[in-house]
Amino acid sequence: MEREGRAYAAGSAQGPALVLRMPLSFYGGVAAETGEIIDRSHPDLGRNIAGKMLLIPGGKGSSSSSSVLAELIRLGTGPVGIVLARPDPIMVIGCLVARLLYGRAVPIMVCPIDGIADGCMVRIDCDGPRATGSGPDAAMLWRGS
């Protein structure tokens, strides 16, 4: 299965899908030391995002989420890539800064997330020509198995 979407943060990544049922705030929602979801009001409370391809309906809440996401990426407790049904700009800057500081690219792609089950391998490829700003229209691949 292939899907096209919008490149939101550059890079390519592959990992087992973790499909969240509700939007997530990394701040107050995920413990940076472990990658565990700690938001008591979230239906996926207790699950772990480390090393996963995170599929989320969208972002929510605190503007501190970009710091927490950058810290998750620094510590290696973050997702390998993120697929968002609804764009969340606060996540973009977290990924951009982690890449600048630590050279670790966690790509973000925006496209529908329906029809993907937990655990199936998902690869996203978001390498558009970053400097020229052609990202928003670049074609992306999503391969589920």
Binding site: R40, G61, S67, R74, P89, L96, V97, D137
Partner: protein, 416 residues
């Protein structure tokens, strides 16, 4: 899409204003490219939410900017940090654990930011005016600036707000642009009494419902009573932005861009209409409490977002009436400037009679301040109730300010 840069932006990118400014401009450009902005707008001010310590990444970022000799180019207020720098004795952290969070706050000051350390920059001298373009972080501040003041900011995450402050630019997109400020989803209050009282709890409850159901669209709320003061709109916005991604709301007849329903929607039709009933509000508020009424309480946590001078007055007035004597600490989060103003008018004269603990520069749900965790902490803030269980691991009871003070007197959760 090619982003159009002016001469100044090109010079920043080319390193003519130093490596730190070039780094900020480059990040802004990458970001603008991702979100699809075509150019930048000059901003009049910024509010930076990078002082709260979440780990090395935040410090690494600011220190890299410092090494590149960056300075902010517009008046820039700072959001809360992890430490009360004025009352460090209330921090329940090992001295070693204080050094990096403190360094993060200082490093922001060294970049030229103002040491306001408040999540309510709209209560400061640097409050923007209607129509001003600004770049603000902190979800409650963003929604307040857009909705209550009619200033224009997108929802900026940590790092990006600082890049905007350093370059004096924000991407021209989203809520900066006129066409995106139009109402999209209607929330209609139905079934309330004609003489509906403007209680804090009503505004918190409506905020929670709107936040959960709106996603990142622009909600329009019809049927709210005239708020007692802007603190009630602060309460609504903070609750909505905690549980959702709301950056702007319109309240018909109340907020500046919504004198009428037609004006709020600019003559267009809502994409969806939701009804809010009294029982919806009751349910939303009930879900905030993790413990039943009657549970013993170990603290009151007020002032999230930071208490205004008017809220101090209301609290002290209630304390004088109720005179709680149960030795339950009453933490009040507020800004340095507001605390000074409250002290100057005598509102803290009886501080020792009530175990009143003013907290500045930070907030009790983001760091280690609470002494005791048995029973529950009680709060009048939808935002505090939403975040505290996950952040600091305490049980929470939510109630109006009057309920909170009465509970402090009773020693357990009561409703007046």
């Amino acid at each position: 899409m090619v982003i159009v840069l002016d001469d100044i932006e090109r010079a920043y990118l080319g390193g003519e204003a130093g490596a730190g400014t070039a780094m900020a401009m480059e990040l802004l450009q990458s970001y603008a490219s991702a979100i699809g902005a075509e150019c930048f707008v000059p901003i009049k001010g910024a509010h930076v939410d990078g002082c709260l310590y979440h780990g090395e990444a935040g410090l690494d970022f600011v220190e890299m900017l410092q090494q590149g000799a960056a300075r902010v180019r517009v008046p820039t207020t700072l959001n809360v940090g992890s430490i009360d720098l004025i009352h460090p004795e209330i921090m329940r952290m090992e001295p070693d654990a204080l050094s990096k969070p403190k360094r993060l706050m200082m490093a922001h000051e060294e970049l030229g930011c103002i040491a306001s350390f408040t999540c309510a920059p709209y209560q400061t001298l640097f409050r923007p005016s209607f129509g001003d373009q600004v770049a603000w972080g902190e979800s409650n501040a963003i929604v307040f600036a857009n909705s209550v003041i009619g200033a224009r900011t997108e929802r900026y995450g940590d790092f990006l707000d600082l890049c905007c402050a350093i370059t004096g630019r924000a991407p021209a997109w989203g809520l900066h642009l006129d066409e995106n400020r139009c109402g999209q989803v209607l929330f209609d209050l139905v079934g309330f009494p004609a003489s509906l009282e403007a209680t804090d709890s009503l505004f918190a409850g409506v905020g929670l419902i709107v936040g959960l159901l709106t996603g990142d669209l622009v909600p329009v709320i019809q049927g709210l009573p005239t708020p007692r003061d802007e603190d009630q709109l602060k309460t609504l916005g903070a609750a909505a932005a905690s549980v959702g991604a709301v950056g702007l709301f319109h309240a018909i007849g109340i907020t500046p861009e919504a004198p009428t329903l037609d004006a709020a929607f600019r003559g267009r039709r809502p994409v969806a209409t939701n009804v809010i009933t009294p029982s919806d509000v009751r349910d939303a508020l009930a879900r905030l409490s993790t413990v039943p009424d009657g549970t013993p309480i170990s603290a009151l946590c007020l002032g999230t977002p930071h208490f205004s001078l008017e809220e101090w007055r209301r609290l002290v007035c209630l304390l004088r009436q109720v005179r709680p004597a149960q030795e339950i600490p009453i933490y009040v989060n507020t800004s340095r400037a507001t605390l000074d103003a409250a002290r100057a008018v005598g509102l803290l004269d009886e501080i020792d009679d009530y175990r009143l603990v003013p907290v500045v520069d930070t907030c009790t749900y983001v760091t280690s301040i609470l002494e005791r965790f048995e029973g529950a902490a009680m709060t009048n803030s939808g935002k505090w109730a939403h975040y505290a269980p996950g952040n600091i691991g305490c049980a929470v009871a939510f109630g109006a300010l009057e309920d909170c003070v009465a509970s402090a007197a009773a020693g357990h959760v009561v409703r007046v």
